[in-house]
Amino acid sequence: MSILDWIVLLATTFLIIGYGIWKSRGAKNIRGYLLADKEMKWWTIGLSIMATQASAITFLSTPGQAFDDGMRFVQFYFGVPIAMVIISMVAIPIYHRLNVYTAYEYLESRFDLKTRSFTACLFLVSRGLAAGLTIYAPAIILSTILEWDIGLTIRGIGVLVVFYTVLGGAKAVNYTQKQQMIVILIGMFLAGIWMVLKLPEDISFGSAVAVAGKMGKLNAITLVGEDGNFNLKDRYNLFSGLLGGTFLALSYFGTDQSQVQRYLGGKSLSESRIGLLFSGMIKVPMQFLILFIGVLMFMFYQFEQGPIFFNQNVNQEMRTSELGESFVALEDEYSQLHAEKQQTIRELISSMDNGDDAQTSNITANLRAQQQQERDLRTSAKTLITQHDPDADTNDKDKVFLTFVVTKLPQGLVGLLIAVILAASMSSTAAELNALGTTTLIDGYKRFSKTEKSDRHFLNVSRGLTFFWGILAILFALFANKLGNMIQAVNIIGSLFYGTILGIFVVAFFFKRIKGTAVFLAGIVAEIGVIALFILPQQFPSLSWLDIGFLWYNLIGCAMVVILAALFQKALPDEPL
């Protein structure tokens, strides 16, 4: 990175943090610290909700996802607007009326203390583990591509986040997130513009998009999986997006404290609702645009030779390894194929311009065959990399965009895009730490406190708890490398818990006759059931039919809680509300 990039990166990062600290100065009580004094406007809430959800991995992986698999990932977000409407109608009015600090606080007034504590614990376990990964995941990619020291990167991101979150609380989180989201959108927009400008002079934007379509990258709506059949394992089709996506979004936006806390800080019920609905309205178009940037990047690499594997350090190591000869041969073949493919693309554009449909479909078939050859060569390269180092990470989807940023963007823009990635990482982590601290204080320490204590005391404890979770997240990130396969498990841990948490809230909102003990027992059984569903197919091959996409765990967990709670309620002796 050049000096200009460093200046842009540091200036952007520290200006945003400084602004957040300045706007949040002087928190005197826990209402100010945890709920931002309930003075947030809808646009701050909306941007804050989006910034919480969009972690660094969103901006690193999503363009790479489109580069690799096309645009069908956009369907994953179709459930978001539906969930936002349901939450606005049902949950927000209740949270506001009861004036709660956490979503789980409501569960005690609706059910009992044990159900509240159980749900809060599920949240703390899942979010507490995930907070470390939110720092670790971008840090490992940044350190790989930019050759930064991984430990230093984790400490750098972690210390900054912990500093402003502990100091300013929810207000600092919300105000920094607003600025971070603006920087993120500007950075991504400029990267997209740069890709279009850098297409060859004889290739227009329209032609590039048309070719991307012919190469199967503009598949925004898919009704079945790649094999032509509907498959529960297929995460990205219209049905899984609408059904599974709605349940995931309901759980995340309606019951995850890191999101609930964003709209609880609204100046009024209307501001909270509009903020949530506003973020729901722009989520799908925003994801479409990020994926479209990935497609533009794909087109860019059709005319500019990209590496066979998107990690130049690994490529360099491979060339000098015992498998160097085979690897270099693959790279040569890849380059030759790239030149042939460029020729085919130009023929395709000319054929489309002439309106010759028969020729267009012949050339398209030829181009697709070359695309398959290219994929095969990339797979062979990954096989060689694994042979050389069995522990090597051969998933380079996450690194495609950052490799593009570092190698192809001009000075200054590189710094801005790295600032975008850091901003995204810090915004999600800050909201998580803020929510973890709040839940531990409100549903734990304050709820079980035997003696009367001052607001100042709770404010200090709240700061201490946020600091504690921050240090835990940094330590987890530092040791994440040693967890190996555990990482994947932690990655989907949210989905293992979300369904149960959502089920408990669904019963609370819609099934007035079901009481605390029934839903508490149903929650425990459902949680065991979902974890079994996740573990059993991995341990016993004969149960592989149980292996479904993790998006469905939300629906199954939720349904199990509702059904079991209704059954338990019938079986249990009546208890007073």
């Binding site: 606005s88 501001e271 609702r273 509009i274």
Partner: protein, 50 residues
């Protein structure tokens, strides 16, 4: 009585922020309508460029 008053106050507030809307249901319909329109447009987009 109190519920009606609350509802009225909420509607007033909504009108203050979004003057063209007279109730929350209209807002919800706009959000869901936008989703339906987006899906239709994306479907047309996928088919057009396939």
């Amino acid at each position: 009585m109190e519920t009606n008053q609350n509802k009225e106050a909420e509607d007033q507030e909504l009108r203050g922020i979004m003057p063209f809307l007279t109730g929350w249901n209209q807002f919800y319909l706009i959000v869901l309508g936008e989703l339906v329109l987006t899906i239709i447009l994306l479907y047309a987009f996928s088919r057009f460029f396939a």
